[in-house]
Symmetry: C2
Subunit: 254 residues, 2 copies
DNA sequence: GAGTGGTCTAGACCACGCG
DNA sequence: GCGTGGTCTAGACCACTCG
């Protein structure tokens, strides 16, 4: 990465900087390599640190850099493809790479109650799961299950921990899944999700909301929060993929 | 929106600010209403403008605010649900809300050539389309079509404009679509896409990459860039949706 | 304790939209 | 021309990680 002077064009400096550094990442750095620290980089490019940071933020958003406080900035590996709802990915049974955390009985937020098409005053089972892929935490999920979908659990009072969560998932799995309904949007990580995903609060995430239908009703709603910097969500019945990576930058470059 | 003092906790000011303003948006503002300008707001909350801006940026990322240079900051309407690939949404025929822009013959970027499983030295048809929903531009698409998928066009030399684009789509539509393959990831808008989407370069977008299979091969690849601030991508065969909105904030609030 | 990224400040000027 | 948000600066201090 040279000490190149920025041009004097009307384009923002941070935009140039982002492109210059982005190209340097492709040609002069390898995955996992650590960059010089922000103060040095800023001095080298002759800009204020805040400006340099604006460029790095963009590159991090695009999944090309990873920054950790107290450690440094490293070159990120290509985003990993994470399968979302191809062959009933999340419907229990395939505990693939989901780790069941715990379970409690609570009131669903009104927005979730609406998705469940249920009275907000009725309690639901709330199962928390987290998904790990390639050794990295990639998603935190809140799974809201209506009590009517898993009636056998009404009497059970297992401790509100993993055991109970597994019981709920087991009962849920007994149902015939009739369909699902999904949406994806950009959000920022809530404090607790951020912690679980090893990010700072407010980090960009992809919020995947799924409704599961069974017995002619909405049986459960999942709100899964995926790290936007490290994940590429994949859909589709052909479960191969993993072609598309790294070099896609050239298709998307300015 | 009061002149509330920020607490003296170790949480970042901009995070508090974001929450405070976010709550004010729900309770004291209506959609489309304009907020006081940044300098006033910063003074009112007793913070530097940069700090206030950090909070507003987050809210904009979450689709709750809309900021336009030279105009001001307004309260954004709830994100619109945009159907992505339920009943062959993009496969020609349904010109739904897609507007065909133009078409040219060019070399595909190597990443796209790889997705097409084709020699990067072979040219492709590149159709540009843009999608409008609710009067707003929501997506810009680059559709790469292999020449072998639409052989009838080899001899044609219509002017490289909309007419030619429509011809390509027409031929493409003749094929039997055998399957598709989709991925969604966060990206930042390239300069030209940004312009088309009425955003600044680098604005956060959802990049939807789709491979279309026909005749046992990959016939086309679409790279569609959706505004992340205004769109919620919806999937699934039950094409209703539009329940889930606004109030979901309570499900996602810190 | 040294070094990193994260937050925050108080200014300045620029680019754009609109009357 | 005025007011808006967008960019940029040069500093300061904080929170975290690690040797």
């Amino acid at each position: 990465m040279g000490t190149t002077q920025l041009e004097t064009v009307p384009e923002p400096k941070y935009w140039h900087l982002k492109n210059v550094i982005g190209e340097a990442l492709d040609s002069e750095f390898s995955i996992g390599e650590i960059l010089p620290n922000e103060r040095d980089l800023a001095a080298r490019f002759g800009v204020a640190r805040a400006t340099l940071r604006q460029a790095l933020e963009q590159l991090e958003l695009e999944g090309r850099l990873q920054r950790r406080r107290g450690v440094g900035t490293t070159v990120a590996p290509p985003r990993m493809g994470v399968a979302v709802g191809s062959p009933r990915q999340n419907w229990p049974g395939n505990d693939d790479d989901w780790r069941t955390v715990d379970c409690m009985q609570t009131l669903a937020p009104v927005a979730v109650a609406r998705l469940l098409d249920q009275d907000p005053a009725r309690t639901v089972h709330l199962v928390r799961r987290s998904r790990v892929s390639g050794g990295q935490p990639v998603a935190a999920e809140l799974l809201y299950v209506t009590e009517s979908a898993v009636p056998e659990l009404s009497g059970i009072d297992a401790p509100a921990g993993p055991a109970r969560a597994r019981a709920v998932l087991r009962e849920l799995h007994r149902l015939d899944l009739e369909g699902e309904d999904r949406s994806v949007e950009l959000a920022s990580a809530r404090a607790d999700d951020a912690k679980e995903l090893d990010r700072l609060p407010g980090a960009p995430v992809l919020l995947v909301t799924t409704r599961y239908f069974a017995q002619g009703r909405t049986a459960a709603v999942s709100m899964a929060t995926y790290r936007a910097d490290t994940c590429r969500l994949t859909f589709g019945d052909t479960g191969d993929v993993e072609i598309h990576h790294g070099a896609e930058r050239q298709a998307q470059a300015s």
